[in-house]
Symmetry: C2
Subunit: 413 residues, 2 copies
Amino acid sequence: MPTDPYRDLYALRAAGMTGSEIRALFSVLERPEVISLAGGNTDTDIVAHRIADCVAAVLSGKGATSGGDPLGYGMSDGVPALRALLCDLMALQGIEAAPHQILPTDGAQQALELIGKIFCDPGDLVLTEAPSYVGALQAFQSYQVEMRSVATDGEGLVPQALEESLAQIASEGRRAKFIYLVPTFANPSGITLSAARRPQIIDICRRNNLLIIEDDPYAYVRFEGESVPALRSLTDEGIIYLGTLSKVFSPGMRVGWVLAPEPVRERLLLAKEAADLCSSPFTQMVAATYLASGHVDEDLQIVRKVYRERRDTMADALDAYFPREARTRLPEGGLFLWVTLPDVLDTKAMLGRALEEGIAYVPGTAFYPRKSDGLHALRLNFSYPSVEQIEEGMRRLGAVVTDELELSRSLEA
Amino acid sequence: MPTDPYRDLYALRAAGMTGSEIRALFSVLERPEVISLAGGNTDTDIVAHRIADCVAAVLSGKGATSGGDPLGYGMSDGVPALRALLCDLMALQGIEAAPHQILPTDGAQQALELIGKIFCDPGDLVLTEAPSYVGALQAFQSYQVEMRSVATDGEGLVPQALEESLAQIASEGRRAKFIYLVPTFANPSGITLSAARRPQIIDICRRNNLLIIEDDPYAYVRFEGESVPALRSLTDEGIIYLGTLSKVFSPGMRVGWVLAPEPVRERLLLAKEAADLCSSPFTQMVAATYLASGHVDEDLQIVRKVYRERRDTMADALDAYFPREARTRLPEGGLFLWVTLPDVLDTKAMLGRALEEGIAYVPGTAFYPRKSDGLHALRLNFSYPSVEQIEEGMRRLGAVVTDELELSRSLEA
């Protein structure tokens, strides 16, 4: 590696920018012999046949958006019809929102970036669950924050642990800027914050003036069990809510949004303007036309049925092919299974071997602020691969895990 | 305005984020009675009829990109076929580039943002022309830089002034992070850095280890005169080159790119990943399919003919309807006329009156780091409005300017 002649020009924050272990895998995943249980793609075949119609409608001016050129620059605050339709979508979850409180973004990831940009000075404290969404860690850490994690259990964030964490921070004379949560089907753990705890968490945050970032990509992908109200449906104060059409429609359209208190939304809008002027009016209009098409519910029912079947296949294969020490918690929705292996196994070290055997996953370390955590866990995606690929992929991975475990035990012995 | 309950949570940099005076105008421009000579939109009717074909090809897997799901997540470093086609496009300008040096971005604006993010610490010095592109000022200033402008004349940046500016900075014991330039048909001035000066500027920057950001959106929109080589075609060291398909294809697709030395491109890629995971593979593939269609040159010839006619209409109308003290320099390409009015007129103060008369422009102050500059200038766009709208719009604006000038002189008398 030659020396970088520009190395003394970078900003201090550039040192804190690290690549996602998921995205680093992407080039390997192009190889046809590799079955990928990494990534977080959806099965876009389910909606693909709708897209051509939506695009045709938009290009002929018959889309869900009257006026406005899909091919020209748009307003930074997004296509008005899309904002209104997103309010309707959120209303299904009991969230009351007005279009002027919404800012469409390039996926919810851009909302995370903009939040980092307007809130985070170097050294600021940000709270999160652990494990937590890798893209959020990247976005916030790129603004040089200190991430601190709060304990979770099977019901999600532990209220007592949050209280203690905030007391600790106060005793240090510091203050956290916000807490970042994926309360429903957390990525990667699949854990849902229980309905009973939600008002408790809101109450603790309110008493401590702690802003909540509620990232909610998976609520529409619940296959079973009772739905749990979004935090934002319980209160409209002190919460910035992030949504995305990536799991409902298509990740490749890059349509996400942020629903924020008005003064915060104003700041986010200024940051958005500097970041890219505007999101594509074309993809926003295609998405709006899809939302208005009347097919969303029908398609979501297919999505839920298909993903549920894939989740079950994956869970059964875990039982069949993995050592019985491999543990998971069956999520009632979302896209992922989070698997914990015996402590003797290092999932990051094991990845090379797995790729050789034609199977990819994401090592647990990707999801922790401290890279020494999550060594024995891995994340598996069941939304993208077919049932057959899941079956074969789990067989391959199970064999690798079994082998590695035997090897490590023979070394110990 | 109620107090913002979140005001003590924002990052320091949030204070430096200001809205663009152009984008603030957008809501007014929705009113049908207003003719807009503001904005920087292109005439998308010229390519609109191509889009449906390109989209259909992409959705049926017959686009210029083999493999890869247009509807799923893409790689952060962009669609490979697009990167290769962008190399071909730049080769027309004599720029030698390899696909792995290119990072597609959401318009060139995102490249400006990412450059600000990886290079700029608070208080860093950044050099630019004055006037300069408002979006670049916003992106860099949002990272708390100090912008310093270097004098230009009719041939662009003055080499002697750059030398002096760098000597001054050195004498302060400081260093500029980079110089930002739009060397060809600068926005807003329309000025092109002369062919004779280009190697001189490169030489000065090289001797002073000053990185050049060459933003080149308009090179393909030259209607007359001899083309001038891109700085990046003269050297591949010390230059980060920004391109966009916004003026060639469609602003609404948000396809831009940055061509950077490899270590810099690596850093930009990490920042891009945190910013939005990836640009839309769908719009990237549509753009790639258009570039590969064989129609680009044919369409660009129409673009040039149409814009030239509109520029001429605007220049003629300036002669016909404006006081003779109004001055401009006829650009050989690009989208804008930069008009300087007598010192007694304040174009920002005049804007309200102009909007009442049904005509919009961008006040000159938008394009200066110091808001006390550019008071007497305004930017007019001729690429978006029709010849008839330009004629009528200039008549309205000419009347406003004439009135205001008479008023101010009667007050002086």
